[in-house]
Symmetry: C2
Subunit: 493 residues, 2 copies
């Protein structure tokens, strides 16, 4: 089944809009009785909404899941093309990300894990730097050493590896004053503080890593965003890489999402409507009323709103969003990363990473060997921040092709990507915050308003912007609603 989401290019057929996804749900609507007064409505079938929905329905609560797209997964979804899974959004996980790992364990998917940077027999892992001061090929070990020096210098803001800022990174406000202080500093400003201690290669590598992590120029993102990943991974550059870009699923993220969705479905308590964007949310003392864009009205006791930060102001809330929530949403998160996939002829670049940085535009920050397709070709995944890669009549594919070819004269068999920045239901990629944003707004974004709970990866306590953060938020919202529903026996009647 094709989703309407995703863009695909190959030299023979050109550009195609919409690509396969096993997470497209057919029939798109399942509703036993349209007049049902639900225990809860969940808006959004990404991981936050899926976890919230499952946790509610398995406990016997009646839930309506509303989703604007034709598929589950939100900003995490897999397109399987010619038998090979391409992750269009969220990809990697680690056992130190507890919420998602517990779901892998529950659905017996731990055996599905594979290492993105796996070596092939007889093939050495190779790294190439494409920096303004020159090109350099080096071993994985030397690159790791550069990464260790550069990232440690960057994150060691306090002579204690950042531990006085995030001593307990799962509670980001443990040292709120130190967090607020460093949160004002952009990644570019922090870079300027330490750049003299780095070699030119280490400097450019660090800028490439910042841009790849942030999906934004270094002056637009808070240095605490990088520091947060570092702290969550144990204040260690090797662990940082292991958490961020190592373990992915052979069955694809959509494989996991389907396990959760099916688990909810067989409870018999799940109703859903796909391709149903929400227009308005009205709240009264005893219920919540949702109006969809096609004019349908549905009521429930509680509501879980999981829409991303950058789209929160697109729904009309009555009473309105709190001033600070609305302000935070209008500021938004800054990540406009273009994550793209290439299938290139031959397996030579399976075990290869290319890292780039230039003050000029039109450069990819990095492209990484991520697998071998069934045809024996290398699959590369790339990260860029560049409008040119998504605009124009060919959706930027010619620009993207040229950018890949700047790394190497690849023979490109296909290119594909999801334009998250222009997607009306995302308006950005994984959440990364501007200087001052997190310390100022995160707690406001987490707060519920009456019967409406807000649960998005974009403001998770720990791994915000990650799969784990989505699940953290979905689980907590449902846990609160489960407690509230316990106080009102037979409230449905």
């Amino acid at each position: 089944m094709d989703s309407k989401d995703g863009l695909h290019f190959d030299p023979e057929s050109g550009v195609r809009e919409g690509i396969p996804c096993e997470g497209v749900i057919v029939p798109s609507t399942l509703e036993s009785n349209p007049a049902t007064f639900y225990d809860a409505i969940v808006i959004g079938a990404g991981y936050s909404g899926l976890i919230a929905t499952r946790d509610l329905v398995v406990r016997g609560h009646k839930v309506l899941l509303l989703e604007a797209r034709d598929r589950i997964g939100g900003r995490t979804w897999t397109s399987v093309i010619e038998g090979y899974p391409y992750e269009m959004g969220g990809t990697w996980m680690h056992w130190g990300q507890p919420h998602v790992w517990t779901e892998l364990s529950r659905y017996n998917l731990v055996d599905q894990l594979e290492d993105s940077a796996e070596t092939l027999p007889g093939v050495d892992f190779k790294i190439s730097y494409f920096f303004e001061h020159g090109r350099n090929d080096l071993s994985a070990k030397d690159d790791a050493q550069n990464m260790n020096v550069a990232l440690t210098e960057f994150c060691n803001v306090d002579g204690h590896l950042g531990k006085t800022v995030f001593p307990f990174p799962h509670k980001p406000f443990t040292e709120a004053e130190n967090y607020a202080k460093w949160d004002q500093v952009s990644a570019a400003e922090r870079f300027d503080q330490i750049k003299d201690r780095l070699t030119p290669d280490q400097q450019s590598l660090l800028l490439s890593v910042i841009v790849t992590a942030s999906g934004a120029p270094a002056d637009q993102v808070a240095c605490t965003e990088i520091l947060r990943w570092w702290a969550l991974a144990g204040y260690n550059s090797q662990a940082y890489m292991d958490y961020i870009i190592k373990w992915k699923l052979k069955c694809g993220q959509t494989g996991l999402a389907l396990c959760i969705f099916r688990d909810a479905l067989v409870s018999g308590n799940l109703s859903y409507r796909f391709s149903s964007p929400v227009q308005q949310i009205d709240q009264a003392r005893q219920h919540v009323l949702v109006t969809t864009k096609d004019g349908q009205r549905i009521s429930a006791q509680y509501l879980v709103c999981t829409v991303p930060l950058n789209t929160l102001n697109d729904i009309s809330f009555n009473p309105p969003l709190s001033h600070r929530k609305a302000l935070a949403a209008s500021r938004g998160q800054v990540n406009l990363c273009v994550k793209a996939h290439a299938e290139v002829e031959g397996r030579d670049h399976r075990c290869w990473w290319g890292l780039a940085y230039s003050h000029k535009s039109g450069i990819m920050a990095g492209a990484f060997g991520d697998g071998l397709t069934p045809s024996g070709n290398a699959h590369l995944v790339s990260f860029s921040v560049n409008d040119a890669f998504t605009s124009g009549s060919d959706h930027g594919f010619s620009q993207m092709k040229a950018a890949y070819e700047a790394f190497h004269p690849f023979k490109i068999k296909r290119l594909l990507y999801h334009p998250w920045a222009t997607d009306p239901y995302a308006k950005g990629t994984w959440a990364m915050y501007a200087p001052g944003f997190g310390s100022r707004f995160k707690r406001d974004l987490q707060a519920s308003q009456g019967r409406v709970h807000f649960a998005s990866a974009d403001w998770a306590d720990a791994w915000h912007g990650f799969i784990d953060g989505a699940m953290e938020q979905g689980m907590r919202a449902s846990a609160e609603i489960i407690e509230e529903l316990r106080k009102v026996p037979n409230a449905r009647l």
Copy 2:
């Protein structure tokens, strides 16, 4: 409420058997209808049994929870004395232990975490070595450096920090041959291989760490058991300590266990019997029949048996346990650690670790400042392997007192401990394996037999012997039974 478990000594009152525990369940039996044919019986109300029970009952399945003790928690329980929580068994957790962290997140207990090694204002953390070659006081930094050198040498069995043995420690059999090879080597043999590269202090420190981790002499435990912890913590000595002995709960582990138990209870689907040890388990094609020691017989569709490895052969199974399960249970796990608590006058030793090693017996391997009691005294927790600490008319308290006083002339206000090694429902402390045991038996121990699922921390895939391993096992057993029950609609009727 006092549990029958636990032993307490203070100089005024002498020895007392039984200490307070908020996890004692009253009334001890809750059963709506004794003739009920349950969906599942769960044997054991430790974390494995609690998670399995909760996951089943919240989904509407009828469960009978059978527990030999008067309390929940199994080998993890808290005694609150004069307002201070003493952890009698399992204590520490980390966000890299995904199953337990997800439960903390679910029940909103992340704010309850505190650091066992927290410093006091104006008090430096101090370490004292009590080794045969001499006594040495040093800074926490110098101790950490010794630990890093010694543990890295020990675990770097392959020149790759052990990564060729446990490349993916949550799947211990990923490199089964390498695991089997190193699993034959005892910790003592591995120590002999690398001791020449260590200073005398580093040598004794390493032996102290091995004994503290294993609850057994170094020749009785496989070197892969230490290597496993090292790998799970990210192949890093600082992270190893952070995972093993850092984060504990202000509300006590029993606080978390009660959240899970109450969550199960309010479902209305939970029946239970405490103080009801099991005699026999008979399995027929369509059901399982459990006979308790007091002669009661209860039937269910499925059974989850969570009793510890060293007690598995104390239940009569019909048909019998598989040959390899029975063999593994007769070999048993080797950990006979005595974990004891002391309240000592004054706060001087709040921020202090004493580490000892001697080839003579009667020495504690370590005592650690773990908190300040409401009276302003230091709470020390100690780890020993010594029969003398639990035997004799005073349950070893005079020996234990002398061992503490060998560290420092403490004024001891109270001592308390749980004699896990002689406890008939444990027969050992957290599971640690002898050389060759894990590679040979772990998969056998995990296998279900017909309608009987075996779920104990003692054979968890990842953190065996830990709270996380218990929850991993309980969750997986219930997930399998949930799947099986789905195939038989209305099976209860």
